[in-house]
Symmetry: C3
């Protein structure tokens, strides 16, 4: 697997990912997905390296996915979760990261409830001249790049399982439905999917849309967003126009806390207006597929039977893609380091 | 080690275990116990496979035993405990299991406080046509098959360390003492020990016995239980008749919550009536041995000095047996999968 | 690496460490530090052995350091923390340790909030004739020997990176500043540093000094402590005389709970009187270095900018030394066991 095109040391955001970088990740992930179908699912690529999962915000699902990806590359792993950390002892987050740096970690996978924490740690490590890489595993409402990349991989491999690549999505219509305002998953996906040339249609109640979209929202009319030049992004206050002839529908997890903040009247009304059901699917292309980053609130973002229907749901495939894509990311930044 | 006789894909209950299956587990465990006595205690049997410990009910002891067994077979392990899970996020248990399935786990070791959860997950995996195995590590008050098998192995190896086998227990008298009603350990042991041809004598206060035993209970008289054909099971409301000439005494952990539920007057009275002490042991055979699944409430189920007396106590041996038996179970279901 | 001079089975305290033992640890740690600078940072020394981290008191930092050290020696690791343990089920600490013994652990790394717990467990294991080693990872206010040794290694390697050895510290002046009374780190360091022939000067407010120092304390005068024959230990109620011409300054973590116990007026006053700042450093030798066991309360024990100044701060080096020293300790006790 050639990594000659890879120069990125940290993976913090998809905002400045280039088409070549996307394709490099997709190609590497396809190789690793093939490894995962073998009986012995391990490769020695990162033997002797240490991947530290620093989860200042807990997430068993994402942490397990990274841990498994690291182990399948033969890396050693260290898990840190804030519950058992010295956070309560008054140490700063940066001090914690520097402690793991000093122990000799090679890659830090960092999740934090505040946007910008992984970037701040990466900047400090660079300032110190350290070679340790940072991989953002979700920071506040900012980004979740490995999720954006695994969603991209899931969609592209559906179209071409052998050679998934960005150009496959050109002119596809993809709807992203739900709590766009608070979703780091939406943010990363908007970057990757619009970079592919796909038409991305957001559908959400106005209270769950970012303020900077407000001028462009019109329930009847669809407008291109100027802030993202050459990228096709549309905003809707209702579900139907977003779903019309869609190839893919991506629903977002609804944090139930949003109800108490008066951003939504009730889960039931939300499901009626923005929940994905079989009757809603009639607006989409016949072979439409549904994605969800999980964990799903069954009967809220999506009807329970639809979630379990392999004809439409890609939710399980996303999880499998997650391990392959995270192997690819760890491999690309880990091998890069080995060369230098 | 031949596994030609092994066809079981999941290990959920001992209710339908055949004598050949018991003997296959005992033989495999004996081989692995020999491995554990070497300086390098690892074998490459499950290299590249992933064992996920999904503990929806926490248990460091059992989780560590399974984790160590998996590591000694060279498998990779993932630990999930509900405290740091997305259970709180509204995902169903089945969704969690399917997430680990999609990540590519080969064996799921599942503990849950509700009876039937591991079986329900196994049924769903089978329905989906998946090859992942489920190993029940304790479900509510239902079963704890690996505990039943390690107790069986502990007793059989005491009689014949080289070739432990089911028939060695024929006509031995084994007393199971304590909270039969709530004990999944008792339930699994009743299946395995009665299958061996041993006479199994239960001793418990009536409030801690299952209701379906009520018709057969008589403090003076001992009756065979009809529900279990050809199996020798007896019920007593007092300790002494159960201990009389017993070869083995298995005491059960007493959940202290039972007191608050008014099922027992006091720990002290329980110890006087059903606690195993040196003076109570006089009723047993001279070389009687005592088992307890742990953790022990010292001075409640068993007197503290007796628990630590290697002449009588098999408690430490049970823990050591646990690793060997769990290696055997993971090996048998893991290797079976490799063939297919 | 020769270990012919190593006969110690457990590492519980530095009180009786011999100069030869100190030098053996320093030499082994120097070898492992070299391993850590390679791309593949693993050696097969403890392959197939199991290191159990039994942390009855949680500490992500120390646990991660031991876990990484064990993994780099190719040992398997098991983590136990009391939060998910059966401590709440009424099992004694000794029972927990014996359970891990019975599972086949080779080395137990034990931390507990009560002094003497690791020693009590080691004594019981010895009484049982078991070959399992215990490594004290911090017990109450008693000792933290691996911290004392990593501090020693950090200082010695600064003087001679190739051949760190105890005699290098002869006649160096080392100040230990802060909460001596409650600090197991101070206690272990007093043993190791006075053994080297260094002059050790303690500086603390009288409320944070052990009572047995009371007779010797005089704010103006410096006295040798009789209880430690041939060791040079001095006590001060003020910072300045301890810092005067010091080669190294070791500050101790201040537990904020001490304030509520009325042992200190305020964090601010503590920082003014005993905090290490640039202006305080003027009393020391020009090339003075500062150590702190971490995690640091920035602006309390040490000014924030000084902590981050690589010209003075050895704090990150200590963390790196920690992994090398813990590899050395696990290797020395683990290999010793292999021979016997």
């Amino acid at each position: 697997m050639s990594t000659t095109t890879w120069n990125r040391h940290h993976i913090l955001s998809l905002a400045d990912f280039t088409p070549i970088e996307y394709d490099t990740v997709l190609k590497a992930a396809a190789s690793f997905r093939e490894v995962l179908s073998r009986r012995t699912k391990k490769v020695p690529a990162l033997q002797g390296q240490v991947v530290a999962n620093l989860f200042f915000e807990s997430s068993t699902r994402t942490r397990s996915s990274f841990e498994l990806a690291a182990k399948r590359l033969s890396a050693d792993t260290l898990n840190f979760t804030s519950a058992t950390s010295s956070m309560t002892k008054g140490e700063t987050i940066l001090d914690t990261a520097k402690t793991y740096l000093a122990m000799g970690c090679d890659i830090m996978v960092i999740r934090h409830k505040e946007a910008g924490v992984p970037s701040a740690i990466a900047a400090e490590l660079d300032r110190l001249g350290e070679r340790v890489s940072v991989l953002n595993a979700g920071d506040g409402q900012h980004e979740h790049p490995s999720q954006g990349l695994l969603d991209l991989f899931t969609i592209c491999t559906l179209i071409d399982p052998i050679e998934p690549r960005l150009e496959l999505l050109k002119d596809k219509k993809i709807a992203i439905v739900g709590d766009i305002l608070h979703s780091r998953v939406a943010r990363s996906n908007i970057w990757s999917l619009t970079a592919s040339g796909a038409e991305v249609h957001l559908a959400a109640p106005p209270t769950l849309l970012p303020k900077w979209f407000a001028d462009f929202v019109n329930d009847e009319e669809i407008k291109e967003i100027d802030q993202i030049p050459n990228r096709k992004l549309f905003v809707h206050w209702h579900l139907e126009p977003a779903l019309r002839d869609a190839d893919f529908v991506m629903t977002l997890r609804l944090q139930k806390e949003r109800m108490t903040a008066n951003l939504l009247p009730s889960l039931r009304e939300y499901h009626q207006l923005f929940g994905i059901t079989r009757s809603q699917l009639k607006h989409c292309k016949p072979n439409v597929k549904i994605l969800h980053p999980g964990p799903v609130n069954r009967g809220v973002e999506i009807s329970s039977d639809l979630m379990d229907d392999p004809e439409f749901s890609l939710i399980q495939t996303q999880v499998t893609s997650g391990v392959a894509v995270r192997m690819a990311l760890l491999y690309l930044i880990g091998s890069g380091k080995a060369v230098g």
